[in-house]
Subunit: 201 residues, 2 copies
């Protein structure tokens, strides 16, 4: 694969993919319409697949390209929490999450061409995150920092909010937005599969 | 507390304490001799206490100072793994840890003066870390990056090694070197205790 393409605009995903590849292209996909999945794992898988295939189809030399799409959602008691629409919304989300355990799902799709056929691999990782209790004052102080506004679930685990995260169960980088170690494993499997099939990729 | 003092030279601990305090002093302690504890939790607690009290005792105006000491060790099947002495030693450690789950213990001691008496609070956090399997080639590649050399257990969770960390159970920052969220809770308790006792700190 001579061209690695990340189909995401997230600077955090860009930084994390840098752990696996010294250089790659970034071509964000706007494709996230008409999703049918309701359940978080199925939803992030579907969204990552939409993004990866959207960018893959737009490439002229598909045989050289590997496109990586990803999507992250936060789920609490079966409800999916996206990005907040304003500070009151962020407050309601954080009020639910404080003192409790929620789930963070990231779906990833790898898309390339193998012997003239598209080769698509989709997976997801789930990480459980537990917060200490927060007072309404602490929640407002965090909202006023501006950080929650573009984050699923209204928080970033890697920022100022770290002081309220009691613990996690699963991959930390999955919560940041890209399950780097699982992705590394899936890339290894994909390369082995391509090699077995005698492709010259 | 008008002066917060971190009794550690670790740049990672410095960065993490910055989540709780916009500014503080750093006075590393060399006190880590003559420890008696054998068990990892007791050992990191004792080492953190030695460091914090060493720096605290050297302060002229103790009533204004809060000293924070910390120590981290990696344990695997009851054995404590410190910093490696050379690359062969690092290889043997990583060969043990790969494909397995180990424990990371960080002990923290807070030291201040309350109504003329030293007030010392010590605690520890344990995080379980699981690695994917690594080939000898992958271990050597990582050792050659130079990163393992000053790290307990011969790895840094926040660096290039992230691609081999399958998951954790507990606080991520505890593995980096300072359990920020637990420390935040303990500082709150300490402030409440001081307030109840009617100190003017």
């Amino acid at each position: 694969m001579s061209r690695i393409i990340l189909a995401s605009a997230s600077p955090r995903r860009r930084e994390l993919l840098g752990i696996l590849y010294p250089s790659f292209e970034v071509i964000p996909s706007g494709a996230d319409e008409n999703v049918t999945a309701q359940e978080p794992a199925a939803l992030v898988e579907e969204l990552s697949r939409l993004k990866a295939t959207d960018i893959f189809e737009k490439q002229d030399h598909k045989e050289d390209a590997l496109v990586i799409g990803a999507d992250t959602v936060v789920a609490f008691e079966g409800e999916i929490l996206g990005k907040p629409q304003g500070s009151q919304h962020a407050f309601r989300m954080l009020e639910k999450l404080q003192g409790n355990t929620h789930q963070v799902y990231t779906g990833v799709t790898l898309c390339t061409l193998q012997a003239g056929q598209p080769m698509i691999r989709t997976f997801h990782e789930c990480t459980e995150v537990t917060f200490y209790t927060l007072t309404p004052e602490e929640i407002w102080e965090y909202i006023e920092s501006g950080e929650p506004m573009d984050k699923a679930g209204s928080y970033a685990i890697q920022g100022a909010f770290a002081k309220y995260v009691k613990g996690i169960r699963g991959d930390y980088y999955n919560v940041v937005g890209l399950p780097v170690s699982r992705l590394n494993q899936e890339l290894k499997k994909m390369r082995a599969e391509i090699y077995e099939k005698g492709s010259n990729l």
